[in-house]
Symmetry: C2
Subunit: 528 residues, 2 copies
């Protein structure tokens, strides 16, 4: 049975998106029976012949493992402080991905003649197939006629998805702490972000903590929508919910499968589309234990095990109605500069994004697609990619372990100045700063963080302040848990930097609390 997703979800889609149209100056309806030449010559579209492209071949030297260059024998004074004589070293690499002007295998390879040419609006077929195969391997949807579109990275995807659901006056559910650039996009379209309470303040690291959406809150919000001021009287009912259920940003924690089923059921009841943003889901961080082994380095680790036991299931796996729109990106596992990612959803939603793309970005970079495809093919396709993802996750796990071990060992931690919420996926860790017993009015916490920021500049450690990632700090349920920092294990050059960063953080906290307790911040805390 084919489901009519347009009929089912047209009410969820913005008027702007529904009304968008494309025209081409070269389209004709060709009736049946018209005789066609077997080898037509094009004097039509302004497509340069590939003979004009100046590149004959591309050779990409690959490493087998992230940070392989740190162990090169020959080093140069250059680069990243750890460096290498790259030109010399490079020829010792045995793993090269090559692409030529033409290919004998056009189904799998993107040649230069193809990749440097105008390409399909929704991505080259090779990349679309990769995306489909990856989803089949890791997060097969619970319905059949889903589709994919390749996008220019998740920034582009988030913009197009906000555009898909938001007219002036539309409301969108968002987690109460989240990747707020999405919220800014919604606001720019005239939409209103409605925060949904999420639970993450597990400072005791209770293994049974119920991370993520507060289900009772969400039920009450939607069941009683419009009943009173607290339930947004006068605003239209939300039609979409933006969330990051795995390795959430900023909190670093992951919703249980049971929780997802509950949230999905509520969204079914109220006809809400779930926008599942998952930039970090493949970076699974196994449970931390001090001095514990890295499970990715275990002899019994395998890709099959990674897929079945490590990876957490997407909302797609419980999506029987085509109500989930999932965003993946190649930025975090491969390289942000590719500006490549993809979107999975029902055919109607993908088709509306297709039209938006045809009118704006036209297509993702063909050169990025060629480079990506060439490398993934060299790795052995989808399972090679998944293997690479597990190598990335191995390194993130090691980094997380190094940083947590150091943080637990700091003087500031031992003094109780901060608490740690251990992350289970992604690249972020949050630290609650325990100044709430001293600064009892949470409205002053933003001023406190400003003072902490100045100290962190002195000690030389850059962090993100959690309150800046709140969807709406006027909500008490957000304000009262806004006293945390988000730190990342992604950017540091090596473990030594993480060790040093922990020390600098500790120094920052210690001086902050000394000055706080001495009353030195009193005027600053009271500032408007």
């Amino acid at each position: 049975m084919t489901v009519d997703y347009q009929a089912k979800y047209a009410d969820n889609v913005s008027e702007r998106s529904k009304n968008r149209f494309i025209n081409t100056f070269y389209s004709f309806d060709i009736p049946e029976g018209i005789v066609k030449h077997a080898n037509p010559i094009s004097l039509g579209g302004g497509t340069p012949n590939e003979g004009f492209f100046p590149v004959e071949s591309i050779h990409l030297n690959l490493i087998d493992e992230p940070f392989q260059h740190l162990s090169y024998e020959k080093k140069s004074p250059l680069t990243n402080k750890t460096d290498i004589n790259v030109k010399e070293q490079i020829h010792e690499l045995t793993n090269a991905a090559s692409t030529y002007r033409y290919t004998e295998n056009p189904a799998e390879e993107v040649s230069i003649a193809r990749g440097f040419q105008y390409g399909e609006t929704d991505g080259f077929p090779q990349i679309k197939k990769f995306a489909r195969d990856l989803i089949e391997e890791t997060n097969k949807p619970a319905y059949n006629d889903w589709d994919v579109i390749v996008a220019n990275g998740s920034g582009d995807s988030l913009h197009k998805v906000a555009d898909l659901f938001v007219d002036k006056g539309s409301t969108v559910l968002v987690e109460d702490f989240t990747f707020t650039p999405f919220n800014t996009g919604v606001a720019n379209l005239g939409g209103v972000n409605i925060p949904v309470k999420i639970n993450f303040k597990n400072v005791d690291n209770d293994p049974d903590f119920d991370y993520g959406v507060d289900v009772a809150f969400l039920e009450d919000l939607l069941d009683n929508w419009g009943a009173d001021e607290a339930h947004y009287k006068g605003l239209s009912k939300p039609k979409s919910f933006y969330c990051i259920p795995t390795g959430q940003n900023p909190t670093g924690v992951t919703q249980s499968q049971e929780k997802r089923k509950q949230v999905y059921a509520i969204c079914e009841k109220h006809n809400i589309i779930i926008i599942e943003d998952d930039p970090y889901g493949y970076i699974v961080l196994p449970k931390y234990s001090k001095g514990g082994a890295n499970p990715y380095a275990s002899p019994d680790f395998s890709i099959e095990k990674y897929k079945k036991e490590f990876l957490r299931p997407s909302y797609l796996q419980i999506d029987t109605s085509g109500r989930v729109i999932r965003l993946e990106t190649f930025s975090k596992l491969f390289a942000p500069g590719l500006r490549l990612g993809f979107i999975v959803a029902n055919k109607y939603l993908i088709q509306r994004i297709f039209v938006h793309t045809a009118l704006s970005t036209r297509q993702p970079s063909g050169v990025s697609q060629l480079v990506f495809n060439s490398i993934v093919k060299q790795w052995g396709g989808v399972n090679g990619w998944i293997k690479w993802a597990s190598k990335i996750a191995k390194h993130y796990t090691e980094r997380r372990d190094v940083l947590l071990t150091e943080l637990y060992d700091t003087e500031a931690y031992k003094k109780g100045l901060f608490s740690i919420v251990e992350p289970d996926a992604g690249m972020f860790i949050i630290l609650f700063v325990n100044f709430d017993k001293i600064i009892t009015d949470p409205k002053k916490w933003d001023n406190a963080f400003t003072q902490m920021k100045y100290l962190s500049l002195k000690y030389g450690v850059d962090v993100v302040y959690g309150n800046k990632m709140a969807s709406n700090l006027d909500k008490d349920f957000s304000l009262e848990k806004s006293n945390f920092l988000r730190i990342t294990i992604a950017a540091a050059n090596d473990n030594a930097q993480l060790v040093e960063a922990a020390k600098r953080l500790s120094d920052t906290f210690i001086e902050f609390f000394e000055k706080l307790e001495a009353g030195e911040f009193n005027a600053a805390l009271d500032a408007e």
Copy 2:
């Protein structure tokens, strides 16, 4: 003196663009005097360390001349019918552009660590500098404080520029035959395209023909705007004018400098922004003469001569007020798959496009920018690029000469079935089909072209029908010159294909006119 372009042009800019805003969750105002560590460690943004990027080096083998592979000695059964044993051949190329994880020359080179990372919203500084230098070399604006932004190809630029000027109900001046995807973009934003009559039907190839905007038409249109139905009574006055003054699409012809001065003066008077789209301007096609030499192959050809005598000046060169927004692309001279181009305008307009970019595409592909920069650097920078452009133009000139010679020699031409407007830049040639004496009602020409399309499918030659590229065929001044085809010299594999295409076109015209004169199309021409 600094001009306040915001004050000067805010009324030209759409409300959507003016109101667009960005927020970041990591911004703080840092007061003076705050002590900063000399070597801060970032635990802030979710930017993966470059050690996670799997590529150690990139090597691009370059050709010295377009279509160089056609003359390789060793050929394989592969590719484009002419092919080559690429893997063998490639090592004979001496011209390779290499990029490594790190560089000792970060001011000029985009390393992998940089190019694969998140980058600047408006493009890497190296590409911005290239764009600035190119404009300085070829089309220096007549004012000083202009700016550039790198975009994802001209499709992206056109979208962002339409967004910049069009609210619901806005009017935009467009040439009456043009690259209509821009018009579709305007319509999707709720704007109204207002056709400006342009002159191009120079079927006698009069050397003094006054190509381009009909100045009297434009003056009357704007001086009497709103006076009556013909002058769009009830519609708001246009604030921008989209045009392709050099190698116009579809017509292939170029406006004189004198004409540009007249148009600029009118736009000054009525405060209209000139959107100058110039994807083909570097492909200058010198005056055709049968059997004549290719001036690009002449011994006295030089890059200095190309810049000074061949290239036609942009509107920028007469822009004293910062009212021109110029769009360039690397698609036609290098490769469309890069999805790279740039926009030149005053700082205020560039800043509004910057904000749009920050909220949508975020940045052009870093990999595309790296590849482009690596190759241009290998060519010797801006003047190396201009040299490459002249090589492309040389090949287009040869192709144009081959096709015109063949077309003039066809039976159909000798019978007077079509006329040729010789192009002077770009990749397009238009042919007027002389059925207007037989089908005297131009409203039937679209049906005539449909019949011609069917025949062209049989003969195997694909063309674009000029009437499909009209801004508004309800205007008599457009309808009465809509009986032309647009053909391109860009797509063919080689000269032999162009020769064959001319023959096929001739066959198509001959059968078309035979059937037309025999009355076989009578019913089809009368169809609604």
